[in-house]
C-alpha cells in the first residue's frame, strides 16, 4: 500500500477526540492506532491468562501469542532467531540489563566504555555509574559543529581495554543519524561489542540486524505505536551465555533448591516474574501496523517534513537550529531568541500544538552546545505539511506577543 499520512492518521482515535491537535512530540511517545488499543483491550476482555504456567487452553493460547511476537521481531529486523529478543520495560531497562547482566561481570579497573556526546541519559548514566564502581573510564566521542560523530576521533578511542561501545542510532535531540555500520565495523576489528540505542530509529526506518551486525539493540514499544512499559533487548547469540539475569524470580529458572538455582537460557533467563503480557501483544500489533506501509517511504516523509520545518524556521529569523547533521531523521531542536523554550511551548500548546521543551534528557550535550534547553519537534507517520505550516504561523505570532 503506498504511503499516505492522511489515511494513516485516520487510524489514530486521539485525532477524533482532538481534531485540531498538532502532535509533534513523537520522540517522547507516539500516539496509538486503533488496532493496538483493540488488541490490548481484547486480550484483557477475551484472552486473559498467565503465560508459561497453565495447561488450560487460555494459558496455552496466550503463551503462543506472546512467543509469536519474538518471531515477529526476528522477521521485522531480518535478524537472528526469535530467541535473541527478550522483553523488558523499555530501552532504559534493556541498557541496564546489558550493563548489570553482562558488562559488570567483565569490566575491570583500567578498562573503558565508549559512548558519544549525544547520548540520552539512559545510555549514559548506567555506564557512568558502573565505570565509577569498577574504576573504569567512560570515554566520550566528541561531536563536530554539525552535531555528528567524528569517526576518526572514535577510532582513536578504541583500545585493547575498551569493553563495549554504546551509541544511539539517532540523536533524540539533534536528529543526527549515526553511521552505525562503520562504527560496528571499526569496533569489531578490535573485537569490541556494540550496543545500539534504537529508541529513535526502530520503527522509523528499516534496520537489518544481519547487515549491521549489531551485538545489542534496545528500543521502547511506546515510541513505535505500542503501549508503554514494554521494550525489547536484542542480544546476539554469541552473548547469550554471557548475559546474566539481573532480576530473579519465577518463570526464569530451570531448577531451584534452598541452596542454589539454575537458570533457563536467554531470553527466558531475563524475564523473571509475570511479564507485561498485554504489552507484548500490543507491541506485536504495533509491529503489524508498521508493516502495513512502506517504512522507507514513511521515513522519507518524516525527513521531508523536517526539511520543510528547518527551511521555514530559518525564514522567520531569530531562531537558531541546534546542529545541522547531513544525515538526519524527523527530529529538530531549536531556540527562539530571548524566549525561553517553556514559554514557546506554552504558547504553542494554547494553539493545540504539542512540542517538547527542556533538555530532552541530554543535559551534557546541551551544556556542550552552550544552551540549557531547547524546543524540540519530532515527526511521525501521521504528521502532515499542514502541521508544519500551523507551527510556523504560531511561532510568528509568538514573536509578536513577546516583542
Amino acid at each position: 500500500m503506498p504511503f499516505d499520512p492522511t489515511t494513516i492518521k485516520k487510524q489514530f482515535p486521539i485525532f477524533e477526540r482532538f481534531p485540531d491537535l498538532v502532535y509533534l512530540d513523537n520522540a517522547a511517545t507516539t500516539q496509538k492506532p486503533r488496532s493496538v488499543i483493540k488488541a490490548i483491550s481484547d486480550f484483557y476482555t477475551y484472552e486473559n491468562a498467565n503465560i508459561h504456567r497453565g495447561v488450560y487452553n487460555l494459558s496455552a493460547q496466550v503463551t503462543q501469542k506472546y512467543e509469536a511476537v519474538r518471531q515477529q521481531l526476528s522477521e521485522f529486523f531480518e535478524g537472528d532467531s526469535p530467541n535473541c529478543f527478550s522483553f523488558c520495560s523499555g530501552a532504559t531497562e534493556g541498557i541496564n540489563w546489558v550493563v548489570k547482566g553482562y558488562l559488570e561481570n567483565i569490566l575491570q579497573e583500567g578498562d573503558n566504555v565508549v559512548i558519544s556526546a549525544m547520548e540520552h541519559h539512559a545510555n549514559l548514566i548506567p555506564w557512568q555509574q558502573l565505570c565509577i564502581k569498577n574504576r573504569a573510564k567512560l570515554q566520550v566521542i566528541p561531536l563536530n559543529e554539525k552535531g555528528e560523530i567524528d569517526l576518526q576521533q572514535f577510532s582513536t578511542l578504541l583500545t585493547q581495554r575498551t569493553k563495549i561501545v554504546a551509541l544511539t542510532h539517532v540523536s533524540n535531540t539533534l536528529g543526527t543519524i549515526n553511521p552505525i555500520a562503520e562504527i560496528v565495523e571499526l569496533a569489531h576489528q578490535k573485537a569490541i561489542p556494540v550496543l545500539i540505542d534504537g529508541a529513535q530509529s526502530v520503527g522509523h526506518f528499516p534496520i537489518n540486524l544481519y547487515d549491521l551486525a549489531i551485538d545489542f539493540l534496545v528500543f521502547s514499544g511506546h515510541k513505535i505505536f505500542g503501549p508503554t512499559g514494554i521494550g525489547v533487548l536484542y542480544c546476539k547469540e554469541k552473548y547469550h551465555d554471557q548475559i546474566k539475569a539481573t532480576k530473579f524470580g519465577g518463570g526464569s529458572i530451570k531448577e531451584v533448591s534452598f541452596n542454589e538455582t539454575s537458570w533457563k537460557n536467554y531470553p527466558h533467563s531475563m524475564e523473571a516474574g509475570t511479564p507485561h503480557i498485554a504489552g507484548v501483544i500490543g507491541l506485536g500489533k504495533a509491529l503489524g501496523f508498521i508493516n502495513e506501509f512502506d517504512l522507507t517511504e514513511a521515513f522519507s516523509h518524516e525527513q521531508k517534513l523536517a526539511i520543510l520545518l528547518k527551511e521555514n524556521l530559518k525564514s522567520i529569523g531569530g531562531i537558531e537550529l541546534l546542529g545541522n547533521p547531513t544525515h538526519f531523521s524527523g527530529i529538530a531542536s531549536f531556540i527562539v531568541e530571548n524566549i525561553h523554550p517553556h514559554d514557546v511551548a506554552s504558547f504553542l500548546a494554547e494553539q493545540e500544538i504539542a512540542v517538547r521543551a527542556g533538555h530532552h534528557c541530554t543535559q551534557p550535550l546541551l551544556a556542550s552546545m552552550g544552551v540549557p534547553a531547547t524546543v524540540r519537534v519530532s515527526f511521525s507517520v501521521y504528521n502532515i505539511e499542514e502541521d508544519v505550516v500551523k507551527l510556523v504561523e504560531v511561532l510568528k505570532e509568538l514573536k509578536k506577543f513577546w516583542l
Binding site: 525561553h340 517553556h342 506554552s346 527542556g358 543535559q363 540549557p372 506577543f401
Partner: protein, 142 residues
Amino acid sequence: MSNMDKLYHEIIKQHHKQPYHFSKVEDAMMSIRANNPICGDRFDIFIEVENKVFKTLHFHGFGCAISKASSSIMLQLLEGKPFSEAEGICKNFLAYIHNTLNEPVYHTDFKAFSALHEQTARLDCAALSWLEILRFLEEKMK
C-alpha cells in the same frame, strides 16, 4: 483576554524583561540553587543575612518567563523581612498558586499568577525559587 495574556500577565512580562536584582554576587554571604531537573531551569539566589533578616537578595541564571518573574517578585518582597515573616509570605504565595489559600493574599502581585489555577502545567515554574528559599528558611529556623 486570551489565555496567553492571562498566563503572561503584564506584571509577569515586566518582571521577566526587567528582573529585580538579576546579577551574580561572587562574594555573597550565602547562595542557594533553585534547580528544575525536568526542564533545565536553574537560578542561583545570593543571600545577605543580618540577625535572621534578609538584608539583600540577588538572583541569576536561566529560566522561563514564569520562573524568572516569580523569582524577581519573591526577591522584592522578601528583602528586609525577618525569617519568620518571610516563611509566611512564601507559604502564602505557594498556597495562592495552588489555589489552596485560606487567608488573604499577601500581595496583589501574586494575582498575576492566577492563570496557574487552570494552567497547572506551569506551577513548577512559578514555585521553583519559592520552594528553595522556603527550604533554606526551614533549615535556618530549626
